[in-house]
């Protein structure tokens, strides 16, 4: 019997504040944060809507479903969807409500 590995995920907010959740096995980052009373943004919970979009600063995650809300250019830039993402190493994620718009782009100069 193998023991699931526990990874530490550090969430970095826009003001520089950080929070840490420990994730065991197949739990998504949004679920683990919810359990710890950390209000990560989210919407659909199945990778379609992008409300939870975050940027991976260090480490690796695996999407449990196709990350439909992210275009290839966003995936290439390190954007991930915490509602369907499980960590595959210790990692650091930039989180907050504004990252979705940043990933899609805005018409403002």
């Amino acid at each position: 019997m193998t023991r699931a590995t526990v990874y530490t995920v550090e969430l970095v907010w826009p003001d520089g504040g950080t929070e840490t959740v420990r994730i065991d096995g197949e739990e998504t980052i949004v679920n683990a944060a919810d359990r710890a009373d950390i209000a990560l943004p989210y919407g659909c919970l199945y990778g379609a809507c992008g409300t939870c979009t975050a940027q991976l600063l260090d480490g690796t995650v695996r999407h449990r479903k196709p990350p439909r809300a992210l275009k290839q250019r966003s995936l290439d830039a390190g954007y991930v969807l915490p509602c369907i993402a499980v960590p595959t190493s210790d990692c650091r994620l930039r989180v907050g409500h504004g990252i979705q718009a940043e990933a899609v782009g805005t018409p403002w100069k």
């Binding site: 209000a39 990560l40 943004p41 989210y42 919407g43 659909c44 919970l45 199945y46 379609a48 809507c49 992008g50 409300t51 979009t53 196709p66 439909r68 809300a69 992210l70 275009k71 907050g96 409500h97 504004g98 979705q100 718009a101 990933a103 899609v104 782009g105 805005t106 018409p107 403002w108 100069k109």
Partner: protein
């Protein structure tokens, strides 16, 4: 007497010349003249994508000018989950069931656009609504549908909801039918969907055996935000669909192309004799009139054509972005909002094919002269509209959709959006911003919220269909 009273007596008043006692009014004119002044508003208030995330709620706003809490939010029905994105909502019954005894306009069907969760709120006491039922997303996904949008009650004891995606947030969407009694899922409304893939809003008129549906995009295209590349790739809609109401079959596609990019709200004339309506093509910023020809097929014309405008802080010319439109109950006036430019327009449509601009109110947006009301900065711009039954008060909210707000008007995510009002003078063909009226959803208990669709107890200009 106001239809906002808890007892159904006011609504029955509309039926004093009729033997049957059902919800609503026998004609649009009866609702307009006998409906009384709106005293309460229900306002969808999502918190998705806010800086301080929290559950969405349905806000109850006091619109009784004699009340000491006038223009304040006096109650809220909070959702049990986060992430729903409340957007549009509708009643269990309206004037389409006017002659159905035993029915009353009592329950609000409140879908979550992002979560695909559907809530039912009992509003028997208009000032004390309560959640009575929740349909969980998994039960909706079973029908390979997601992203619930427009809710209409329909004759025959049913409720039909337009659904924008399949269970994965991809195309095609469809229509979900609920039972009017217990709100259980009946299944899909449509039989043969033909070539229809995208869905958004719809209107129906049984007298002419027609349902007209419009197109936004696949949820996984519009949910994450607006990307011009998706328009170039043909991922946004440019057509409307004509269905047989009775046979539930797709009959005809009206393809607008460049002239009708992103056709959103569909409003047919309230007068059930009429075989025409209007649609706002958001991105092209055209109002398109659709109508039935003498041979029974449907056709369309652009009747209002707006131009984009340069803005020094933008990379591209700014389209006005027509995001909502509505018709007064007497079908005399068409109002629509330009969410990016920042104005609400009022057109005389008594000559239906030749709308005439009669007035315009600027408030917020990229070009509004006025950027504050009662000292509060206008975050966002005119968006979802609702008109009083008598056509004398136009209300609107300023948020569009969480992810699009966050791209175009990011302040809303921090401070919430607003509900504003203009006084309308239909006899004079003009309107004026009410500078004393402001509901600031930035002050909502529990943290700022966006404000979206507005309805009042007793029916309004976008909920009822007369058969």
């Amino acid at each position: 007497m106001s239809t906002d009273e808890p007892s159904p007596s006011a609504e029955q008043h509309g039926h004093e010349h009729h033997e049957a006692e059902g919800p609503g009014y026998p004609t649009p004119a009866a609702m307009r003249t006998e409906g009384g002044r709106e005293k309460t508003a229900y306002v969808m208030a999502p918190r998705v994508g806010m800086e301080n995330d929290g559950p969405d709620f349905v806000g109850v706003v006091d619109l009784d000018p004699d009340s000491n809490t006038y223009s304040e939010m006096i109650d809220a029905v909070e959702m049990p989950n986060r992430g729903d994105e409340l957007h549009h909502f509708g009643w269990n019954a309206c004037s389409s069931s006017c002659h159905a005894e035993g029915l009353s306009r009592q329950y609000l069907v409140v879908p979550g656009q992002r979560s695909s969760r559907i809530h039912v709120i009992d509003a028997e006491d208009p000032r004390d609504p309560e959640m009575v039922k929740i349909i969980e997303p998994e039960d909706v996904f079973e029908y390979d549908l997601s992203a619930p949008h427009t809710v209409h009650c329909v004759p025959g004891g049913k409720i039909v909801i337009s659904m924008l995606g399949d269970a994965n947030g991809e195309l095609p969407g469809g229509f979900l039918q609920l039972d009017q009694e217990d709100f259980s899922i009946d299944g899909r409304w449509e039989g043969d969907p033909g070539p229809m893939e995208m869905n958004y809003d719809y209107w129906y008129q049984p007298r002419h055996d027609v349902l007209v549906s419009s197109e936004w995009a696949a949820p996984n295209t519009y949910y994450p935000g607006f990307d011009l590349e998706d328009v170039e790739d043909g991922k946004y809609g440019d057509s409307i669909h004509i269905w047989s109401w009775e046979d539930r079959e797709h009959l005809q596609t009206l393809e607008f192309g460049e002239q009708g990019r992103i056709p959103l709200e569909v409003r047919m004339s309230h007068n059930p004799e009429e075989t025409q309506g209007y649609i706002g093509a958001a991105l092209s910023s055209n109002v398109i009139r659709f109508y039935e020809d003498s041979d029974g097929t449907w056709d369309w014309d652009v009747v209002i054509d707006e131009d984009p405008r340069e803005h020094e802080d933008w990379d591209m010319p700014v389209p006005p972005l027509i995001t909502d439109l509505l018709l007064s109950l007497d079908d005399q006036y068409l109002f629509f909002s330009n969410w990016l430019h920042g104005d609400v327009r009022m057109y005389d449509v008594s000559d239906a094919a030749n709308p005439r601009l009669v007035d315009q109110v600027w408030a917020g947006g990229l070009f509004g002269d006025r950027q504050d009301v009662r000292g509060e900065s206008i975050r966002g711009a005119p968006q979802m509209l609702q008109l009083s039954r008598d056509g004398r008060r136009l209300y609107w909210t300023t948020s569009l959709f969480s992810s699009w707000d966050n791209q175009f008007f990011p302040d809303i995510a921090e401070e919430g959006s607003l509900m504003l009002k203009a006084d309308v003078y239909p006899d004079e063909g003009r309107m004026e911003l009410d500078e004393d009226f402001l509901v600031d959803f930035g002050d909502a208990p529990g943290g700022p919220a966006r404000a979206h669709e507005i309805r009042w107890p007793g029916g309004d200009c976008t909920s009822d269909v007369w058969q």
